[in-house]
């Protein structure tokens, strides 16, 4: 369903989600072209969650994210060019090239740490909430992490403390594990969590829990609105599980795009390779939103095409900017060790 927001905001959501998608598809091309090394993770399939959830944040709220952070930064309004420059290790990157894809970080937007250590940010975000409470700033701390993070003891320890001390933190677990290899939930050999649904873990610690379809921007918007209202009101923690379906191109650490996204796919997926078709038809949050915008008469197909054109320009310019940015001077490796 559509988020209950103004039409401009709906269009803005659409634009941001599409930006994340096209940005990352461009990124995949750059990696294939050898523009940066190492492995990396894309947010494709989870755009509705990040864009809806982060739309509620205000100045001063804290955000912690993981190895799968690109979408969160763009959702929050990071400049695509500087973000891409960081991922390519260039001088104009937000972290001067020191962080790279695992650690893209924009303090000005409230991001305090992007950790590549699974579960690493759960204590950190809980701590930011502690600081918020201690300083009575009325802000909140948001922790975006994957289902796998619940397998780390750090999660349990943090939920306990957040619950006992009533800390203003939103734990937003992006469960992209449905049908994901290795991460299936259930009692099979391959399963990795005995707490099923996974919300049983935070629930045991008396955290208020919510489950939502993470491919449905409107559903996420509604649940997050309620959770954040509660946090700002009673100051205590909230836990949300947003379930998304793993993108067929995202199985490995080196994504392969089954088909470059085009808004036209919202109405016709026949051009999509058989194996991936179901996902683009049923589980792609970007295409789902676009279909709804048109069905609910919030935008015409022509307008959608216009949006896509605009976003493509933005991504093209970001790529130009990032590739034009020089590598940092080697000696700068010795800076920023200590404040």
């Amino acid at each position: 369903m559509l988020p209950e927001i103004t039409r401009e905001n709906l269009i803005d959501f659409c634009r941001r989600m599409l930006l994340i998608r096209l940005f990352e598809e461009a990124l995949i091309v750059l990696h294939k072209a050898g523009r940066f090394s190492g492995h990396y993770h894309v947010y494709i399939g989870q755009e509705a969650t990040g864009v809806s959830a982060l739309s509620f944040l205000e100045e001063g709220d804290s955000i912690f994210t993981t190895h799968r952070n690109h979408g969160h930064l763009l959702a929050r309004g990071a400049e695509p060019g500087r973000l891409l420059a960081e991922i390519l290790g260039r001088r104009d990157g937000y972290n001067k090239g020191k962080g790279g894809t695992f650690h893209t970080n924009v303090a000005a937007l409230g991001f305090l740490q992007a950790s590549g250590v699974v579960g690493g940010i759960i204590p950190l975000a809980t701590g930011a909430a502690y600081a918020i409470k201690a300083q009575e700033t009325g802000r909140i701390s948001v922790c975006l992490f994957g289902d796998g993070a619940l397998e780390e003891g750090a999660a349990a320890e943090s939920f306990n403390i957040a619950s006992l001390w009533k800390l203003p933190v939103l734990y937003l677990c992006e469960n992209n594990g449905k049908y994901g290899h290795g991460r299936d939930v259930g009692a099979a050999r391959s399963s990795t969590l005995a707490t099923y649904p996974l919300t049983d873990l935070p629930a045991a610690y008396r955290l208020p829990i919510h489950q939502v379809d993470g491919t449905d921007a409107g559903a996420v918007h509604g649940v997050v609105a309620e959770a954040i209202k509660k946090i700002r009101w009673d100051g205590g923690p909230q836990f949300i599980e947003a379930q998304t379906v793993r993108w067929p191109g995202g199985e490995t650490n080196w994504p392969i795009v089954p088909i470059p996204t085009d808004v036209a796919l919202a109405w016709d997926v026949n051009s999509v390779p058989e194996a991936a078709r179901h996902w683009y038809r049923d589980s792609d949050p970007v295409l789902i939103l676009i279909r709804e915008l048109v069905e609910k008469k919030q935008a015409t197909k022509a307008e959608i095409n216009q949006i896509q054109k605009g976003v493509r320009d933005v991504v093209d310019r970001a790529v130009e900017f990032a590739l034009a940015s020089p590598y940092p001077k080697p000696e700068t490796a010795l800076e920023d060790v200590f404040a």
Binding site: S62, T126, S141
Partner: protein, 332 residues
């Protein structure tokens, strides 16, 4: 100048820090371990009920919490009590706190302090007697502090409370009852300033933490044998005041390093490697290390004594480098 016991000076510093800066919160233990003095900390707890917190037995969780709180503007000082327990929080300390500023390209500051009580305590056995400072020095991004006197613990604690970097404050139970001069309104002691705790011309002993006191005792005894020992206390390993050490080494040309870490890849190894390199032409004798022997720490008193950097082992090492002022002759 007034005299204070080490624990008094330390508690005074904590009180002054809490009074001076509302962003400072204390989390964890009493900063005095299981010492009978620990109840004195309860008074501080009573005066700041909202800023002195007892977390669950979740070191990984509450150390990470302190790091996150520091990222968000507080200045937490965490007491893990026994240093061995910082291992529970290892991923947060070495892989989150130490890297945050760097990975973020200078954006995220982490003004957190982790206080631990390290070393051989008499019956701590293998799991409660660690000296993690060497492992922590191997992890760039952390400041590492080792006080050894009533004055230093106060001055260094104040600087630790003010630095914007994650800092490990490595203290020792055996120092708590030590008495010494502590000026009324003593200044904070800046990091990176070694102190010559005793002057002498014959042998330089570089010692850390409680080993400074033990080395001073030995030095006093050896003076009667005609060996004048200079005892240099780095006080902080990161940042390190290498110059003060080398000045002493250039004078004495003989070096013994006394540290309570296990020997291999310990603090003494790094100091020996640096001095051996920089002082190559100066040294008149091999650098000797007196450290905890490379075995887990045994419970039984005579066994613990046997593996410790004891007064007798320190004295033997000093005598050895002092004696036979042999010059180096090149073998054919």
């Amino acid at each position: 100048m007034r005299e204070l016991a080490y624990y008094e000076s330390k508690l005074e510093a904590l009180r002054e820090i809490l009074a001076a800066n509302g962003k400072v919160h204390l989390m964890g233990g009493s900063f005095l371990g299981l010492s009978p003095r620990r109840n004195l900390f309860r008074e501080i707890e009573k005066s700041y009920p909202d800023r002195v917190i007892s977390p669950p037995i979740s070191e990984l969780g509450y150390c990470g919490l302190a790091i996150g709180a520091a990222m968000a503007g507080l200045r937490p000082i965490v007491d893990l009590s026994t240093a061995s327990f910082i291992f529970e929080a290892w991923p947060q300390v070495v892989n989150e706190a130490a890297n945050a500023l760097y990975m973020s390209g200078g954006q995220t500051r982490v003004p957190v302090v982790f206080h631990v009580l390290h070393g051989l305590r008499g019956g701590g056995a293998a799991q409660h007697s660690h000296s993690p400072q060497a492992m922590l020095w191997n992890c760039p991004g952390l400041e590492v502090v080792l006080p050894s006197s009533p004055r230093d613990v106060r001055g260094l604690l104040k600087t630790a409370a003010g630095t914007d970097n994650p800092t490990i404050f490595v203290d020792h139970l055996n120092l708590l009852e030590l008495r010494g001069p502590v000026p009324e309104n003593d200044e904070a002691i800046p990091f990176g300033r070694a102190e010559v705790k005793r002057a002498g011309d014959d042998v330089t002993v570089i010692a850390t933490s409680y080993m400074v006191q033990r080395s001073l005792t030995v030095a006093g005894r050896l003076a009667s044998e005609g060996i004048e020992v200079e005892v240099v206390d780095p006080r902080t390993l990161v940042p390190l005041d290498f110059q003060t050490m080398m000045t002493s080494v250039e004078k004495t040309r003989r070096v013994v390093i006394v540290d309570e870490c296990h020997q291999s890849c310990g603090v003494a190894a790094e100091l020996a490697a640096r001095i051996g390199e920089a002082g190559f032409d100066k040294l008149r004798a091999p650098i000797r290390r007196v450290t905890t022997l490379d075995v887990p720490v045994p419970f039984s008193a005579p066994l613990e004594e046997f593996i410790s950097p004891s007064e007798s082992r320190i004295a033997d090492a000093i005598r050895e480098v002092a004696q036979g002022k042999r010059l180096k002759v090149d073998r054919p």
